[in-house]
């Protein structure tokens, strides 16, 4: 029997955009998306791999600049390090931005965690004329330093070997002591003595670290201290407040500013001892800065942004048109093939109407989704998306939202093709509960990847003359509605002051083709998987709801009698007889659908829904959309193909809708508006409940549906009043 493998726990930590997730993917083989902007990863992610007979459990922590309690990412990273106590922390440091990155390193050293530094992007640093002496840095900091290039994998083997050595080393890691000047050093010593004497929080943090955090007025540690021992906490707080007041009066600053200043001073002293040499002038502006001067210009910037976004739509729709048509034909051919191969009956109906038309309706849009994701990946990986966030901040402020709300909006489909579920989760980066709630309730208004096929279907069917322009228009409408709703929330139920927006922008980088393809494929594959599992299940369930209960023998007999009468009247297989027979078949199929569970529900809703122009069949699709928005297309496909299983009748859904008397341009607009804004899908609702509460989740369902119905009714009734229909 094999001996159990030695298990080593490692954590990856560092600043945003330092390359943590790239290294994580390289080491674990995980294919998790790396966004080139802060705020994409809030929770930590785990992966494992083997090295020299040891099993290594690697955790990717969210990117942070410091270990204070300012943001959720910082709390998640700090809590993981003190609670889970990984055997070694791999601190990824961007060699091209050493000073900023070592600020976090300082705090890891102060926390006394076993650590190794991965000096990443040494190639980028070299291009910028920066040489980093890893050996000197190692000697001065007293921790191993390994130069790597995470993107190519250079140095990663040496990094892991040295990390394993650190993990297996029995050395006791002593926290680093940095001097914070006379005023603070004295107080730190006094607080440390009190903390040490009372064993106050010493099981979690080193006493010096706790003392510093009290001086920094760290909310989380102070709250934890009050729970552990209220009396000691009060004494420590009073002492920290005393020195804080003194510094405010004498120097006009808070202790945390002095602490940060001294940490940067410590870093500068390290760097100046031969750690970093520069070939170029330190004041030199890099290409990235020069691009920023143009791209974020207050006049040129928004124009460039609009042109880029419009270009994205143009690229997506013009390039995907042909492959979408091929897939459409493929599923039409498949329907015909199955139709010829299977005998008439329920099974054939289920396969063609439930599975092929249901899943095919969704999979048919894979090329479009793929091109959209590819375009978004270019914007993300190049760093331009972060600039979009900066430019949109000005607009978001007007509507009572925080600049960081831009990311959840973009992730949810601000540039059509996202998903509201990660969008809702991304709101965790917002500090203000009211701004967060306002963002969380409005992100489902964005055009997610699931709504995209519906938009593409209806725009393609009724506005085929300029699809990209209409798609862009509906995206702008979704933004307007979301922002106006946010303003409404922030002016009524979620009133409150705004919080400041400060964000580090990643440098522009040329995206790599493998990276773009991986990101595009990951998201497209998620879409395909959903179509093959959840949507297939829901399609078949909805097919069953649209098939059962079946018509009674008496009802069937009425149609049989009509067919018999037709036979006796014409006695020949004329064109007229054939058309009349088809009419009877269609009437029977429609009666069967109306008689089914879904039909009964759809018909019961029709007296209300007809104000927005929706017939009972559209109602069935909209009910399906409560489960998942992708289902709308598949249900429409099923509802409009019931009873028409012959291959020659298997025309694309867009054509069937164009030919249907219930549909026209205005109904299409009303349907698009309703689908864009009605209740979020079930998974999003559950996420809202988990992130906020069930009260807000129910509010979101009710508010969105009522609001969407009013808008859709207005869109349908206005042209009627103006006699345009």
């Amino acid at each position: 029997m094999d001996a159990p493998k030695v298990r080593i726990t490692m954590a990856l930590a560092g600043n945003p955009n330092a390359g943590k997730t790239t290294l994580f993917n390289k080491l674990t083989g995980a294919r998790q998306h790396v966004g080139n902007y802060p705020g994409i990863t809030v929770d930590y992610k785990e992966g494992h791999f083997e090295r020299g007979g040891r099993e290594i459990l690697l955790t990717d922590l969210p990117g942070t600049y410091s270990l204070t309690a300012y943001s959720v990412e910082e709390l998640v990273a700090r809590d993981y390090l003190v609670n889970e106590k990984p055997q070694v922390v791999i601190n990824i440091v961007d060699a091209s931005n050493l000073e900023r990155n070592l600020y976090l390193t300082c705090q890891f050293l102060e926390l006394g965690v076993p650590m190794i530094i991965a000096l990443n992007m040494i190639d980028v640093a070299k291009d910028r004329g920066i040489e980093v002496n890893a050996g000197q840095l190692e000697a001065l900091l007293g921790v191993p330093v390994v130069p790597i290039i995470a993107r190519s994998g250079f140095g990663t083997d040496a990094l892991i070997d040295r990390a394993v050595a650190v993990a297996e080393d029995k050395r006791i890691w002593q926290p680093l002591d940095i001097s914070y000047g006379e005023d603070l050093d004295g107080t730190v010593m006094t607080l440390m003595a009190e903390i040490h004497r009372q064993s106050f929080l010493t099981d979690t943090y080193p006493s010096r670290f706790t003392a510093i955090k009290y001086l920094e007025h760290d909310d989380q540690i102070m709250a934890r201290g009050r729970v552990v021992d209220q009396a000691v906490a009060a004494r420590v707080e009073a002492q920290a407040d005393l020195v804080s007041d003194h510094l405010r009066k004498t120097m006009g600053v808070f202790p945390e500013a002095i602490i940060a200043d001294h940490r940067y001073g410590f870093i500068k002293s390290i760097i100046r001892q031969g750690v970093q040499t520069r070939t170029f002038d330190t004041d030199r502006l890099y290409a990235s800065d020069k691009i920023d001067k143009v791209v974020t210009d207050r006049l040129l910037g928004p124009l460039i942004m609009l042109a880029v976004l419009f270009g994205l739509y143009q690229f997506t729709f013009s390039w995907s048109e042909l492959p979408v048509h091929w897939l459409d034909s493929l599923f039409g051919w498949l329907s015909g093939l199955i139709d010829g191969a299977l005998p008439e009956g329920l099974f054939k109906s289920m396969i063609i109407s439930g599975a092929v038309h249901g899943v095919g309706g969704v999979l048919g849009f894979v090329p479009l989704i793929m091109f959209m994701f590819f375009g978004i990946a270019i914007l993300e990986d190049s760093g331009y998306l972060a600039r979009v966030a900066f430019m949109m901040d000005r607009i978001f402020r007007i509507f009572g939202l925080h600049g960081s709300s831009v990311m959840p909006f973009i992730i949810s489909g601000g540039i059509a093709g996202g998903c509201a579920v990660p969008g809702v989760l991304a709101t965790r980066t917002l500090r203000s509960p009211k701004e967060r709630l306002a963002t969380l309730l409005t992100v489902p208004f964005m055009n997610c990847g699931a709504k995209l096929p519906v938009l593409a279907l209806l725009i393609g069917a009724f506005f085929s003359e300029d699809k990209a322009r209409y798609m862009f228009l509906f995206t702008v409408v979704s933004w307007l509605v979301a922002l106006l709703s946010a303003k409404l929330f922030r002016s009524t139920v979620l009133k409150g002051d705004p919080t400041p927006f400060v964000m580090e922008l990643p440098p522009y980088r040329l995206p790599t083709l493998p990276g773009l393809l991986i990101h595009t494929w990951e998201r497209t594959w998620q879409y395909i998987k959903k179509a093959g599992t959840v949507i297939l299940g829901i399609s078949i369930l909805l097919w069953a709801m649209m098939t059962f209960p079946r018509l009674s023998p008496d009802q069937v007999a009425v149609f049989d009698q009509q067919r018999l009468n037709l036979e006796t009247q014409h006695h020949a297989n004329t064109e007229t007889a054939s058309q009349e027979r088809k009419s009877i078949d269609d009437a029977q199929a429609e009666e069967a659908l109306r008689n089914s569970m879904a039909g009964t529900l759809g018909t019961a809703m029709e007296p209300v829904s007809r104000y927005a122009g929706f017939d009972w069949r559209t109602n069935i699709a909209l009910i399906g959309g409560f489960a998942a928005k992708e289902v709308i297309v598949s249900t429409l496909g099923t509802a409009y193909s019931m009873g028409k299983v012959e291959s020659r009748e298997s025309a694309p859904l867009a054509t069937r809708l164009q030919q249907d008397p219930h549909w026209n341009r205005w109904v299409a607009i009303a349907a698009l508006i309703f689908i864009m804004f009605y209740s979020p899908c079930l998974v999003t609702v559950i996420c809202i409940a988990r992130e906020a509460s069930w009260k807000w989740a129910v509010f979101s369902m009710l508010y969105n549906t009522v609001f969407a119905f009013i808008l859709a009714t207005a869109c349908y009734q206005m042209p009627r009043l103006l006699s345009l229909i």
Binding site: N97, A257, D393, V502
Partner: protein, 103 residues
């Protein structure tokens, strides 16, 4: 005498123009939101609430630090280079960072 009057009038006009453009002469301390022009500045003071000051300090914003303003909107947000990184600031943060022009 006439030349002096003309010179004075020109100075006043230049001052008014600078004021209108939000442009400050070198050495004058003003909030980042009012500094008006791109270029190198030195941080003199950071005001605002404790959370903002702490955040700015962690990002390397402290008195004496030099920054390069890359993009600036009148009385609004800006993008600047500090400690080797590029940071975007909103109106609140820009109004609380006092700088002097070095150019």
């Amino acid at each position: 005498m006439r030349f002096k009057q003309f010179n004075h009038a020109c100075s006043c006009l230049a001052g008014k123009f600078r004021q209108c453009m939000g442009d400050r002469p070198a050495g004058e301390v003003a909030p980042l939101s009012k500094i008006g022009r791109r270029g190198r500045k030195r941080i003199c003071k950071i005001t605002g609430d404790r959370k903002l000051c702490a955040r700015m300090a962690a990002l390397g914003f402290h008195a004496g630090e030099e920054v390069e303003v890359l993009c600036q909107e009148a009385d609004a947000r800006c993008i600047l280079k500090i400690q080797g990184g590029t940071v975007s600031l909103d109106k609140t943060a820009s109004r609380n960072i006092f700088v002097e022009s070095l150019e």
